[in-house]
């Protein structure tokens, strides 16, 4: 809830900004952020000719980090950095309002949809494609991932790499053992596990106080989309009769809704999941109320850290490959990057400045700097074992001094030569390996690089029709006919145009 509060506070502030003083002046944009580079002090004063580079980046922790690493980067790359740390929960809204008030920084980190996409098409950002070859490290960025960031076939963005798919199942291994259950390989086995976790007192305390699954109010990163892709639902859009169609027009979408509805009707999951936050969901696992979790397998570390404090015997395991009806395993895939980096012309005025900034981005991909950004200082924040980075045990120190800088990484280990990590907690290490395994079965969203003006303008509004109908169906408030009506409404309020435009765009791209 705390997160939500910050989000709201930010939202309120941003709302005031938009509704009240869109033209009142650009001074409001930077209200709460710290400019980390301001205090670099006397040592750097000699470098008067150092270019100043400003970045807006999300902050996932409560406090802005210690400036030590920032200063080291400034010295090594000979720049003055101005990092604006923006609380991650309000980041998108802040970017929208910074954009509206013309207070973007040299490097911004924004989504490539909606109004942003229009602005990109309108030429408000530098096209970087032609320059990449001039930079040794930037030219190593993967083409497939860069392609996913393209707008109308042109490259505007650099990226921070992400495993294609981190989705999977986390479950209480000790409960499974108590009940004699093997690692689920099929959806039926998983259903059976959830059922038994609910009914057969897996923690052996003699009380009926457990449920099979804890889920949250998030279709994408929660259980829904992942279960869907196990069932064979396309990733947002798929091919049907030679035409691209949205996932919810496929029968697998209904199967997925029925699966979740059935779990809920039988009490095998938290019945309030449409209003359950991520924190509450994770707490259900940490407190030993729920036995399975479907989402990023990386969360196993956090769940274990929390749960082991309350119950030292709690054991977790992760599993990615779950199949249905003997069909081959598939799992939905992200675009392979996190927020892409763009360079607004409002802040970067000349080509010369752009080249300075690209040189800086190139520098960030240098293995030495990349390790510094991601792992910190060798010997102080991590050690190297078998060519892998092992973070020191003091998580607090890492959070204070290193972690926030992860958000300005460019590329990934495969492209920048940054060390991969080694995790002490075995299931976490296993999760990393399963990310790689997932990549072999990942299903991409085919519309990622396609354009549809109607979709750009109405994405959220259209999505809401389907989101609402899907929740209502799973809660039993809406029957199949009602759901079909919602789909028809989606079609009539612009959906049909979106289908048409995506198909036209798809035909063009072939």
């Amino acid at each position: 809830m705390a997160k939500r509060k910050i989000a709201l506070a930010g939202a309120m502030a941003a709302m005031l900004l938009v509704t009240a003083c869109s033209g009142g002046g650009g001074n409001t944009g930077n209200g709460t952020s710290n400019t980390g580079g301001a205090s670099t002090g006397g040592a750097n004063d000699g470098g008067g000719e150092r270019p100043t580079i400003s970045i807006m980046t999300p902050l996932h922790l409560a406090e802005t980090p210690d400036a030590k690493i920032e200063e080291m980067i400034e010295d090594k790359l000979n720049v003055d950095l101005e990092i604006q740390w923006i609380p991650a929960s309000t980041f998108q809204d802040r970017m929208t309002s910074a954009f509206a008030t013309g207070s973007l920084t040299d490097i911004v980190n924004i989504r490539l949809d909606g109004a942003n996409r229009e602005a990109i098409q309108d030429g408000q950002f530098w096209e970087v494609g032609p320059y990449l070859d001039e930079y040794e490290n930037l030219s190593k960025l993967q083409e497939e991932v860069l392609n996913n960031t393209m707008v109308d076939g042109k490259l505007y963005a650099l990226y921070q790499g992400r495993p294609l798919s981190r989705q999977g199942l986390i479950y209480r291994a000790d409960w499974a053992e108590n009940l004699g259950l093997a690692t689920p390989q099929t959806l039926d086995e998983l259903y059976e596990m959830m059922k038994q976790f609910t009914e057969n007192d897996p923690d052996g305390n003699g009380q009926d106080d457990t449920v099979g699954l804890a889920d949250r109010n998030d279709f994408g990163s929660g259980a829904f989309k992942t279960v869907g892709s196990w069932i064979g639902m396309p990733n947002e859009w798929g091919m049907q009769d030679g035409q691209l169609r949205p996932a919810f027009m496929f029968p697998e979408y209904k199967e997925t809704m029925d699966f979740i509805k059935d779990l809920r009707d039988n009490g095998y999951m938290n019945s309030d999941f449409p209003v359950t936050s991520k924190t509450e969901q994770q707490n259900m696992l940490i407190n030993g109320e729920a036995g399975t979790y479907i989402g990023c397998m990386c969360d196993v570390q956090q769940l274990y850290t929390g749960a082991s404090q309350l119950n030292p015997d709690a054991a977790f395991d992760v599993q990615n490959q779950i199949t249905t009806d003997g069909e081959p395993f598939t799992v939905w895939s992200g675009p392979g990057f996190n927020h892409p980096y763009l360079f607004p012309k409002s802040a970067v005025k000349t080509e010369e400045e752009l080249k300075q900034i690209l040189a800086f981005m190139d520098g960030l991909m240098d293995p030495e700097i990349a390790n510094l950004l991601y792992w910190g200082i060798e010997g102080e924040h991590y050690t190297i074992e078998d060519g892998l980075a092992v973070p020191v045990a003091d998580q607090g120190k890492i959070d204070r001094e290193v972690k926030p800088y992860n958000t300005i990484e460019v590329g990934d280990p495969a492209t920048s030569g940054r060390l991969a990590g080694k995790y002490e907690y075995a299931p976490m290490q296993k999760a990393q390996e399963l990310f790689d395994d997932n990549a072999n079965y990942a299903v991409q969203d085919p519309t990622l690089t396609l354009s549809s003006e109607t979709y750009t303008d109405n994405k959220d509004r259209l999505a809401q029709i389907i989101t609402d109908a899907t929740y209502n169906y799973m809660l039993g408030e809406l029957d199949e006919a009602g759901f079909d009506q919602a789909v028809a409404r989606w079609q009539s309020e612009g959906g049909d145009q979106v289908i048409e435009e995506f198909n036209a765009s798809y035909a063009d791209s072939q």
């Binding site: 938009v18 009240a20 033209g23 809204d93 929208t96 309108d122 408000q124 959220d460 509004r461 809660l475």
Partner: protein, 308 residues
């Protein structure tokens, strides 16, 4: 000519005479100008197709296109009626409660008890909506919430308070009452305290009981306060819904819970449709203005002072 000059110098003299008063009011005036009037300039974007990079003047004029889109959109009547229904709930259900509470508190003779009750009912006002909504989430959830546990132990069906259309409005108004009713009593208590005690003494002599005194003296005496607060409340209500409603809003209750404020937020900030959401906000402000003027007109018609 002479007269006009005379008038002007009269004005200057009066300004000079009261210069300290004017100086004291200056920060307030500046505040209103800077934060209330200057931003109105931005309303222009509701008549334009605002693109941030073109600036407010540089964007193209589109006339009333955004308003047409709003009035023709399938959501318009839903938004309009949801907003007005919540507004009506605020006025009909919520507004009398602080008055009744104040009248009741006024009758309490044992001062320590009165003070304690007052403090306890003020307290919720200092909690943010996030806290209020979170607390009610914990109390009303079907996964171990105390209300549903009680219903269940009495052999009744669990009620899904948080995920139903029907329960959204009761939950909303209940939370408003819980948080604001106590705070709302302050002004009424002050108004009651200002009533001339001689009136009560005279009434007592004439044999009026406590109830009679309340109906015939206290209520008429604070009537103008009630009217002014009602008008101000009407102006406020269309402003204050956002945070609270946004927190309560979910897929299952959207049909009754989406109001202009939440819609503006989604359309403007999430989707970057600045002009359209400015138009929606403009329209909402216009409705608020009409309501306030209407209430003021009514108040004057019935012989009250109104607010202007």
């Amino acid at each position: 000519m002479d007269q006009r000059l005379g008038g002007r110098s009269e004005l200057i003299r009066s300004l000079l005479r009261n210069k300290w008063l004017y100086l004291m009011i200056l920060p307030g005036v500046l505040y209103v100008i800077v934060y209330k009037y200057i931003p109105m300039y931005g309303l222009i974007i509701s008549f334009k197709n605002y693109k941030p990079y073109n600036g407010i003047w540089g964007s193209e004029w589109v006339g009333l296109a955004h308003f047409e889109r709003l009035f023709q959109s399938s959501e318009f009547w839903m938004l309009f009626s949801n907003t007005l229904i919540l507004f009506a709930l605020q006025i009909i259900v919520f507004f009398p409660i602080p008055i009744i509470l104040a009248l009741m508190l006024n009758e309490v003779r044992f001062t320590p008890f009165k003070r304690t009750v007052q403090t306890l009912i003020y307290l919720p006002h200092f909690m943010s909506w996030v806290i209020v909504v979170s607390i009610s989430f914990v109390i009303f959830t079907t996964d171990g919430g105390i209300i549903n546990d009680i219903l269940e132990s009495m052999g009744l069906q669990k009620i899904n308070f948080l995920l139903s259309e029907g329960w959204f409005r009761p939950m909303y108004i209940l939370q408003v009452v819980w948080r604001e009713a106590g705070w709302g009593t302050i002004i009424f208590l002050a108004a009651i305290a200002a009533v001339d005690p001689q009136l009560y003494e005279a009434a007592k002599m004439d044999g009026a009981g406590r109830l009679r005194q309340m109906v015939s003296i206290t209520l008429p005496a604070i009537r103008s306060v009630i009217v002014v607060l009602l008008i101000l409340k009407i102006g406020d209500v269309l402003e204050l819904g956002f945070e609270h409603v946004y927190l309560l809003l979910n897929s299952t209750n959207r049909q009754v819970a989406e109001i202009f404020d939440t819609y503006v937020y989604v359309a403007g900030l999430k989707q970057g449709q600045f002009s359209y959401s400015a138009a929606v906000g403009f329209f909402k402000g216009f409705v608020g203005l009409v309501l306030v003027m209407g209430a003021n007109w009514l108040a004057k018609k019935y012989g009250e002072e109104g607010i202007y």
